[in-house]
């Protein structure tokens, strides 16, 4: 029961406030979507706190992409790997509460906001940062497989296929799983 609630890593409830606060702060910085904050999540839970390994971190995102639903659910898998169901509540709650409050406020302000110079400058100014963050996220996700030529070939291959053909990413995730299961990413 404790393993279900807090995960299998022997961490206790002491990690939860830190987890919740960090993901809550990142929620407000997620101007290009949740995945742009993945590098800082990795820096915090893998590098700074050592709660999970870089392989577990990348697997969390891979598992979320293999399942239906919004991509933001990868934060739930990270929470699960850090501290079980309590961790899920901390990471997902942290990721959703602040931005949800802002979205509700914005919906009330309505369309007066959206063509103002301030909002346009905000979106335009942060767009190139989003690009840099996505590239950094892609690079950091390769951390656990950088020693494998097969896996490192899968990275540009899957990016190129997705850009060239309009196929659902799930087929690529499946192909990656098959190649890996047969030892091609070892």
């Amino acid at each position: 029961m404790t393993a279900l609630l807090f995960g299998a890593h022997g961490l206790d409830s002491g990690v939860l406030p830190g987890l919740f606060l960090h993901f809550g702060m990142l929620s407000l910085l997620a101007v290009g979507g949740a995945i742009t904050t993945a590098p800082d999540m990795q820096r915090f839970v893998v590098g700074e706190q050592g709660w999970i390994s870089d392989a577990q971190f990348t697997s969390s995102i891979a598992i979320a992409q293999a399942a239906p639903g919004p991509n933001v659910l990868f934060v739930a898998v990270i929470g699960w790997n850090v501290a079980g169901l309590a961790g899920v509540a901390a990471t997902l709650g942290g990721s959703l509460l602040p931005s949800t409050a802002l979205a509700i406020a914005a919906a009330h302000l309505g369309s007066a906001l959206e063509n103002s110079r301030g909002v346009r400058a905000f979106s335009a100014g942060l767009a190139p940062l989003t690009l840099g963050l996505l590239l950094a996220a892609g690079w950091i996700l390769t951390d656990p497989v950088r020693d494998s030529l097969g896996a490192m070939l899968l990275v540009p291959f899957s990016a190129a296929v997705l850009l060239r053909w309009r196929i659902s990413p799930i087929w690529l995730v499946g192909a990656g799983a098959a190649v890996g299961a047969l030892g091609g990413a070892g």
């Binding site: 290009g32 949740a34 931005s99 190139p128 940062l129 996505l134 497989v145 899968l154 990275v155 990656g176």
Partner: protein
């Protein structure tokens, strides 16, 4: 409704959302959808969650927003946690560990593809191509190589970029 959307949305829900809400259910015109989407993208947080919230609010108030959020997240959350638990039990097996390495590599490729798609849209950015490239490169270096905290990069570099965009939009 949002439950159906979510379960169809392998690898992201936005494209499916557009199809269902605009073309099938006709809850929104294409222009309304685009408007909500751009607002959802300007706001921090997961884009589709923001859009769902605002649609729920617009049609049914707070109860609509709660329903949209629950519909969007609950079933997929259960599925993804089952997968995570299953992985936890089996990750010692070589084929499972290998499969996850392969999937992780593909996940990296998918994120990079998203980045390259976004790069195409930056042509029309008021900052201009050169400044966009510079800001993107500095961000990549600060976050990917130097591993600076995101909050410092967004507040520092982000403020400069937004200020430049503000002055250019005023001309």
């Amino acid at each position: 409704m949002f439950n159906r959307l979510a379960l169809q949305g392998f690898g992201g829900v936005l494209a499916v959302a557009q199809h269902e809400l605009v073309e099938r259910e006709r809850w929104l015109t294409p222009a309304q959808f685009l408007e909500l989407l751009s607002l959802g993208q300007a706001l921090p947080g997961p884009n589709i969650v923001n859009v769902a919230l605002m649609i729920g609010l617009r049609f049914h108030g707070a109860r609509g927003a709660a329903a949209a959020l629950a519909g969007l997240l609950l079933a997929p959350l259960l599925i993804v946690l089952l997968l995570a638990a299953l992985y936890e039990r089996t990750m010692a097996l070589p084929p499972v560990a290998g499969a996850l390495r392969g999937m992780g590599a593909v996940a990296a490729g998918l994120v990079i593809a998203t980045a390259l798609k976004l790069a195409g849209t930056l042509r029309s950015n008021p900052l201009g191509a050169r400044l966009c490239a510079l800001f993107a490169l500095l961000t990549l270096l600060a976050i990917g190589a130097l591993r600076w905290p995101l909050v410092a990069v967004v507040l520092g570099l982000g403020s400069v970029a937004v200020a430049v965009a503000w002055t250019r939009l005023g001309r």
